[in-house]
């Protein structure tokens, strides 16, 4: 198992060396989104509207952080991943329009999403579920927050992270999927 590092934004060639099973630490800007933010992104894009964030060559993090307001600042207290499969049906159309280079989450994504990710050179990174305190320690700054009307967990948080990890490369640029391999071994 190799330990690698990646900085964002990342071009297609920057993730080409990642292999399923690698351990990765990520630095740069990540944007969180869960169920409702995905629905709103899909809705805005389908109507030709702009999004408040630019995710091109960046990372979409399936996460709804626990935050606390301290004066004028937001402090992220806990920020582990949420289950990606809930938003999976929206991803095949959404990801190419966002142009993201990495999806961070837990549990993996479906076949169609993987096909789209392979075509666009996007990887799926699994952060250990439940490890919210560990993830929050890697957050250096809250750059912004959008759509707080959706509720604090469902809002889009723009986070600057340093050494976010351990991330396991679960789907690599060749489309190899660790979750799928485990499922196949289990006969499920």
């Amino acid at each position: 198992m190799e330990v690698k590092e990646l900085s964002l934004p990342a071009r297609r060639k920057d993730v080409g060396w990642l292999r399923a099973g690698d351990l990765l630490f990520l630095t740069g800007e990540v944007v969180t989104a869960r169920d409702r933010a995905h629905l709103r992104m899909a809705d805005l894009l389908s109507r030709g509207k702009e999004l408040p964030v630019d995710l091109r060559d960046g990372a979409l993090y399936h996460c709804g952080p626990a935050v606390r307001r301290e004066g004028k600042e937001w402090r992220v207290l806990s920020a582990g991943p949420t289950t990606s499969s809930r938003v999976d049906p929206l991803l095949p159309r959404l990801l190419p329009r966002l142009g993201v280079r990495a999806v961070i989450g837990k549990g993996g994504v479906g076949e169609e999403t993987k096909r789209v990710m392979k075509r666009m050179g996007c990887v799926y990174l699994a952060f250990p579920g439940g490890c919210g305190a560990l993830a929050a320690r890697a957050v250096k700054e809250v750059r912004g927050v959008h759509w707080l009307d959706l509720g604090q967990p469902e809002a889009m948080w723009v986070l600057e992270v340093r050494g976010l990890g351990p991330l396991v490369v679960a789907v690599d640029p060749s489309g190899r999927d660790l979750y799928e391999e485990v499922r196949r071994r289990m006969g499920a």
Binding site: G132, Q152, L178
Partner: protein, 286 residues
């Protein structure tokens, strides 16, 4: 109502929420350490090491261990004497949310509007049970959605029997995959009615890991389920390994001669459940 007893009950609820948000009970920590010792899969080991480090970081920084602080479930074993446990729990939940210990999770089921205080219709979930010993015994469990979302109820036929029951529980864990954040604790309710079996499954999760069922047939069933689940190879986070569950707990009720209800309710590895006794104004951890 509203006297010193009521205030003490509210403070006790808040103290349990504080502990549960930022830490794990010792039996779960010991279970995770044991899992790391026996895990051979490299990815499984990475995940278990991250989990153990995360617990330390959360305890040290006094921040939520997991950002999904769940829906708090309260249990009281007490006399329905002058005290109002629902009110104590509700006020404690609101305060814990203000302190940043609970992420505001609850929403209206249709409009999805978030009131921001983790309360709402029928919440917090409170169960009052007959008293056990002196004073008030209380427990809180933070039930995250990842594990709750894969709960399953099977209304099996008596002919399917124990074989069918085992296959149903193992199949539920297999199909849940990485979604409930394994290694999980598996709660199983057998018998009763549809709703009673699910209540029993949830209640079984309060039992500490080393504590096996009191009755031999259910002790055997717990052991068989644990072995079969840990032979799946699903592993921590569903990314492979030998540690899929930390334990299996079964509770049962007699049932209709035509029925065999089986309910499965899981707890993620972040099994945030704490229990204490409130006696003479003092909180004793259990």
């Amino acid at each position: 109502m509203g006297g010193s007893g009521q205030r003490e009950l509210e403070e006790a609820c808040l103290e349990l929420l504080r502990r549960a948000s930022t830490g794990l009970p010792s039996d779960v920590k010991a279970g995770l350490r044991r899992a790391l010792r026996s895990e051979r899969d490299p990815v499984g080991r990475v995940n278990l090491r991250a989990i153990l480090e995360n617990v330390e970081v959360a305890e040290e920084r006094k921040v939520p261990l997991c950002q999904d602080t769940g829906i708090p479930l309260f249990y009281f074993w007490m006399d329905p004497s002058g005290l109002n446990p629902v009110r104590a729990a509700a006020r404690a939940v609101r305060r814990a949310t203000q302190e940043g210990l609970l992420r505001p999770n609850t929403v209206h089921p249709l409009s999805r509007r978030n009131p921001g205080d983790n309360l709402g219709k029928e919440l917090p979930a409170v169960k009052v049970l007959p008293p056990r010993g002196e004073g008030v015994e209380l427990a809180v469990m933070l039930k995250g959605a990842g594990s709750e979302n894969v709960s399953r109820l099977g209304m099996l036929t008596p002919a399917e029997g124990e074989r069918g029951l085992v296959d149903f529980v193992v199949g539920t864990v297999r199909e849940a995959g990485g979604r409930p954040c394994p290694p999980v604790i598996v709660g199983v309710g057998v018998g009763g009615t549809a709703s009673l079996s699910m209540e029993l499954a949830q209640l079984s999760l309060l039992r500490p890991l080393p504590e096996k069922h009191r009755e031999a047939p259910f002790r055997r069933l717990e052991r068989e389920l644990e072995e079969r689940i840990n032979r799946l190879g699903l592993g921590p986070m569903g990314l492979g390994g030998r540690t899929t569950c930390l334990g299996v707990k079964v509770e049962y009720a007699h049932t209709h001669t035509a029925s065999l209800p089986v309910a499965v309710n899981l707890l993620c590895w972040a099994a945030r459940r704490f229990r204490a006794r409130l006696r003479g104004g003092e909180l004793e951890w259990r």
